[in-house]
Every structure is written in C-alpha cells, then in structure tokens.
Amino acid sequence: MAKIISTHSFRGGTGKSNTTANVAVLVARAGHRVGVIDTDIQSPGIHVIFQLAESRVERALNDYLWGKCSIDKAAYDVTEASIGDVDPDADRPRLFLIPSSIDVGEIGRILKKGYDVGKLNDGFQRLVTDLRLDYLFIDTHPGVNEETLLSIAISDKLLLVMRPDSQDFQGTAVTAELARRLEIPEMYLVINKVPPGMDTAQLRERVEATYQAEVVAILPMNYEIARVASSGIFVNRYPEHPMTLALKQVADRVMS
C-alpha cells in the first residue's frame, strides 16, 4: 500500500523543497515508484531542483485543479535526470514530478478564485493509483492553510522542517499540535541550517523534549547547497557528504 509523506514548515525557506527532493531520490533509488507533488501553488520551486525545464511543462497541477486535464497528464517522469541509467521500460525505480505552474497570471488566478480542496485530495489518490506509486511526497507552501491541513490529514508520515531559531520553534509547535489532532501516525523533525559550532546533541535533546517527536536529521548550514540545487540533486553529486548521510536517515525512516 502506498505511503504518503508530507513536508511542512511554519516559515518559508527552511529547506522543505530541498529535503523533499533529495529524500524522494534516495527512496526511488532504493527501488521504488515515487511521486513528488508541488502543492506550493503560490511560490512553486521544487521543479528547479529536479531540473525539469519549464519549457517541457505543458500541463501543471493548476490545469488539473481547473478541470482542464486529468492529474496524470501533469506528471513528468524525471527518472533519467534524477537517477540516471535506468532501463526506460523498467517499472522500478521511477520518479515522477507534478509541478505547479510558474505562470504569474495563473498563480494570481488560482489565489484569487481559489479551488476545491477536495479535488486536490482526489488528485493525490488518483496519482497513487494511476502511477502505481509506492510513495507520494507532498511539498507544501509554508504556514498553515487548507492544503497544509489536508495533506497532514491524509498523510502517513509528516516531516517538519525547522531552523534552530525562536520563531521557527514557536511556529513548529503549532503545526505539531495540529498534526496530533489530525492523528498523524508518524511525525519527524528535520533541523536544517544549523550553524557551525552549535552543540547538536544538546539541540536534539531540546527539540525532542519540546515536541515529543524524533529528530531524524540535523543538517548543517551548507553554503554550497544553493549552487548545487540549480545543477542537480545534492545526494547524487555528493554521495559521501555528511549531509547526504543525514538525508539517508530520513529516507530510511520514510521506508521503515
């Protein structure tokens, strides 16, 4: 049975998209069919990490939400670019990306008119069946909104990404509590952009005590990652980097 994993953070720029993309690649590489959907309609971005050329995107999640196409028409097979050397006929591994439109007019339209969140939910389910997914990753817009809550309500696992600062600390507590009330079966914390020299053992202890949830990865501030993000997937390029090893821990939790 397919597992649905959503990634959230209270504030923007915590590293949700990077974490989601890299973990999805690791899970796919372990021999699975994986989908990644960008529900950050306001500020889409994960397609950049997957190097999905904007010119290749004819249909996006928006078109599905407007009823212009079925959801599988907005799914792009990015296996070759993100895993490489896979027999095109092979069933596994496979990685599909469902991007949101980057058209500014389109973004404005959907924000103004809104859309049926139930339709988004149907879309998640259709993706799982039509693409025969083993895992579906949902990347989200920061903060709490309808999509956030919906994705938590239907997820098997939740990854909360936060930075070690007091604003993220407070905001994450709200999301974690809401997720508990939605009876999320498993919730994990990823602490990102940890400055050098910070005592990670102490940090882990503090965060786990505060949220009563497991910290699955503590990722350092890494000044190369922004550049790498626009030229491929970090874990592919730097397989032995401590950051990659930490992301593997997250992938293991997702698959366990």
């Binding site: 993100s82 490489g84 809550l149 309500a153 070690p164 600390f169 809401l178 050098p196 505060t210 730097y238």
Partner: protein
Amino acid sequence: MAAPLFPSAAKCMVIHLLDSAQGNTLQAWRFSNHEIVTIGRDANNDIVAADPQVSRSHARLVQQNDNWTLFSTGRHGTLINDRLVTEAVLQPQTVFRLGASGPMLRFDVDTRQPHRSETLENIDTDLIASLAVDEQRKQREVDQIAENTLFRELQERSRQLRKSGGQTPESS
C-alpha cells in the same frame, strides 16, 4: 626499518571534489599506498560518485614510475579542459570532469595535513537555551484553527482514513 611517519610526497595522492562554480574543495580523498585508484558510481570504487553523469566504472588512475595516469573507462567520458580524453598523464592541480556536466575533480600530490576552515568564534552558545515555546500562545493559535469547520471536517476524514487502515476513501 620502521615505516616512515609520513608517506613520501610522490606516493601521497589527493583527489578533491570541487564545487564547480567556485573551484573550492567540497570533499577530498587521500591515498597513500595505492597504485590504482578507481572512480565510478558503483559502491566498490575507491571514489564513489553517484551522479547520473558518472558511469559505474568511470575512470582509473594508475601510478606508473612517479606519475599518475588517468584512463577513462566509462561510457560517459572524462574531460580535461573541455576535451574528452581516454588516457592522460596527470600533472599536479589537473582538473578533470566526469561526464560533460558531471562532478569536477582535481588531482593533487600533497603532504599537508587537512585543516579546519571554520572558525569557532562568534557563536552564540546561549542560542539553544533561548529556544522555547510559549505554551499559552501556542494553545490560543491552535484553538483558533481547530474551531474552524474545515478543520473539523478534516479531523473526521482523517479518523475514517486511519480506521480503514490507510487508503483514503474516495471523497465525494
């Protein structure tokens, strides 16, 4: 005779993985008693690079006399100065690339010890202690959202879903 404390310079070879934009080292591998070093995507290589541009067995570096020679063995090719090479004697500081836009590596012969680049000054050691949650404020914010009808509906849906053992019922 006792083994030398440091292997001789000629035998100590270093491969740096470069950040392609800046040329600084992201990772380095040091080999002191090797005559052959293999590079590729397979886990059994001495240097493993799991990039789609890298072949399973991409290249082999062989020590001959006092030189290291690179042999490109993979189908994605190896480039030096933007030119494909099948065999090349490596001079210290030579940069080579695995695949046309894959990872860049620099060959070096070195005896220096690695050093830490970060300074540990200016770190706010009280930062962790200051991380705290204002419980009252949290409760207030959570209640505000949880009172919403939409939230109640989602709660109901998620309860059914968890009860039915995973698969979401088709919403109507």
